[in-house]
């Protein structure tokens, strides 16, 4: 199953944040004026709300870059934007190892090859029950991994974040066992929605958002989307990933967004979209079920959460 352009993801032109904001306002105004002109007020209001509530309205740049979970720079949401400035992202080397024909150390440019980044507007659902919509720029992982010629033993891919307490103050505390490790099954990694991200809102990826290279797997909880990647390893065994080893009852390896499986301590049925006052329903696979549900056919997603 290869879907190049899922219906609800328009790789729209790269637009500055101001324009996004204005477009949104325009949409709202138009809907309100139009509806108010021809419809009874109650109905008009509902239509205006529906128009403003489309599920791919990008979260403002300011919010995307100041509300982050990135414990390497501290555990509060504002810590990363305050502390990540010190991270040196150039030059950057990515080590490729494990079950592949072309392991080695690659400069970031060589690792990415000649691929031009494309824009993808994705929903991001955090395991903490908040969400955003973010216009990323990146390269689908399935255009990069094959270049290293993974062997038949490569069943999983493991990603590791930089370990450098001098640059990452959060790593001086034992909040988590550093370095941060995440992983995907090979077919998840090769799915066309899986993106290696280098930019955001048409700009270079800010440090607090995982510069210079991060993963985005839009149908999984945000913690799967590992930041500041320095190592990619092909493995035969399922990788030991950070949150699921910290707390296996609460965070699984798959971590697919699933309103039917609650976090033991809080519900996953609803989420607060940043910018909204009230919660909205969480969608199975974060709304990407049509594209990805097939990957998990025959699996019990209550057990493999």
């Amino acid at each position: 199953m290869l879907i190049k352009k899922p219906a609800d993801i328009r790789p729209s032109e790269i637009t500055p944040p101001e324009l996004y904001a204005r477009r949104r306002e325009f949409l709202k105004t138009a809907a309100v004026l139009g509806a108010a002109a021809i419809l009874p007020p109650a109905l008009g209001g509902r239509i205006a709300r529906a128009a403003a509530d489309d599920n791919l309205k990008p979260t403002p740049y300011q919010d995307v870059t100041t509300y982050n979970n990135y414990y390497e720079f501290g555990s509060s949401k504002s810590d990363p934007s305050e502390n990540a400035g010190s991270l040196k992202t150039k030059p950057w080397t990515v080590t490729v190892e494990g079950h592949c024909e072309k392991p080695g150390q690659y400069a970031l440019e060589d690792f990415l090859g000649s691929q031009t980044p494309e824009e993808r507007i994705y929903r991001l659902r955090c395991v903490e029950a908040w969400s955003m919509v973010i216009p990323w720029q990146g390269v689908p992982l399935n255009k990069i991994l094959p270049r290293f010629q993974p062997t038949a033993n490569a069943k999983y891919v493991e990603f590791t974040t930089l370990l450098d307490p001098a640059q990452m103050p959060g790593q001086r505390t034992r909040l988590l066992s550093w370095p941060y490790v995440e992983g995907l099954r090979m077919d998840e990694a090769m799915h066309p929605l899986t993106l290696l991200v280098t930019g955001l809102y048409g700009k270079e990826l800010p440090n607090q958002n995982g510069a210079p290279l991060r993963l985005i797997v839009p149908w999984k909880y945000g913690f799967k989307s590992v930041k500041a990647i320095v190592k990619v390893r092909f493995t035969e065994q399922q990788p030991r990933t950070t949150w699921s080893s910290e707390n296996p009852d609460e965070y699984g390896f798959y971590a697919n967004v699933n309103p039917a499986v609650d976090h033991p301590r809080w519900t996953q049925k609803k989420e607060r979209r940043i910018g909204d006052l009230f919660r909205r329903d969480t969608l199975p696979f974060n709304g990407y079920a049509e594209q990805v549900a097939g990957l998990y056919a025959g699996m019990d997603l209550r057990k493999s959460f």
Binding site: T66, E128, R265, W266, I274, F278
Partner: protein, 209 residues
């Protein structure tokens, strides 16, 4: 002279403390008005009102030890006010949850309270505070007599539940809940020490008699 101090105390000092206790709310309202609550305003409101609930609970529990240590008995007269402000901020904290997190979805709230340990514990603490607030008047103190103090010892349990509520919801960084827990342990530990000491001296007095 003592009368004058009393008058000054109830006409100036107590109103000042009252206003000071409203400052956190005023600050939150100001931030809301200015749109300065951050990227996730509801979460900010929820966390800040929760913080102030715990802080006022700890302040209330600090009154008696401070009075004993300083010998300044008038401190006691702040205790009810601080306790009621703790209840006030807990009420706001619950209101944020009720309106913005659940939007009066009682079914979901019942499910939350039943299934989520941190909510069970927090909600219990909130419920237990209600009888304490209701019986905080002078009339009720008189009417309940010795039972009043028995009833109001519930505040120790409430504070423990409050800290537990906080500790149970964080993902990994336990430092702040542990700080509250540490302060609470000091305040409760002081009481244990005091009671044991008094029990001790009481037996000593009895035996020398």
């Amino acid at each position: 002279m003592a009368l004058q101090i009393d008058r000054w105390f109830s006409l100036v000092v107590k109103p000042l403390v009252f206003v000071a206790c409203l400052l956190p709310l005023a600050w939150l309202l100001w931030l809301t008005w200015q749109g300065q609550l951050g990227v996730n305003p509801v979460e900010t409101l929820s966390h800040r009102t929760g913080d102030w609930s715990l802080r006022f609970l700890l302040l209330t529990l600090a009154v008696t030890p401070l009075r004993r240590l300083s010998g300044w008995n008038r401190l006691q007269r702040f205790r009810r006010m601080l306790g009621l402000f703790a209840f006030f901020y807990v009420g706001l904290h619950f209101a944020v949850y009720l309106v913005f997190d659940q939007f009066f979805d009682w079914q979901a709230i019942v499910a939350d309270v039943a299934k989520r340990p941190y909510i069970t514990v927090g909600f219990t603490a909130f419920l237990l505070l209600i009888p304490l607030a209701v019986t905080s008047t002078n009339g009720m103190m008189k009417r309940l007599g010795r039972n009043w103090q028995r009833l109001h010892r519930l505040v120790y349990l409430i504070a423990v539940l409050g800290v537990l509520h906080y500790a149970w919801l964080v993902k990994a960084d336990l430092r702040e809940p542990l700080l509250y827990g540490g302060l609470l342990s000091v305040l409760l530990g002081y009481r244990l020490w005091w009671w044991r000491g008094r029990g001790h001296s009481a037996t000593v007095i009895r035996s020398t008699r």
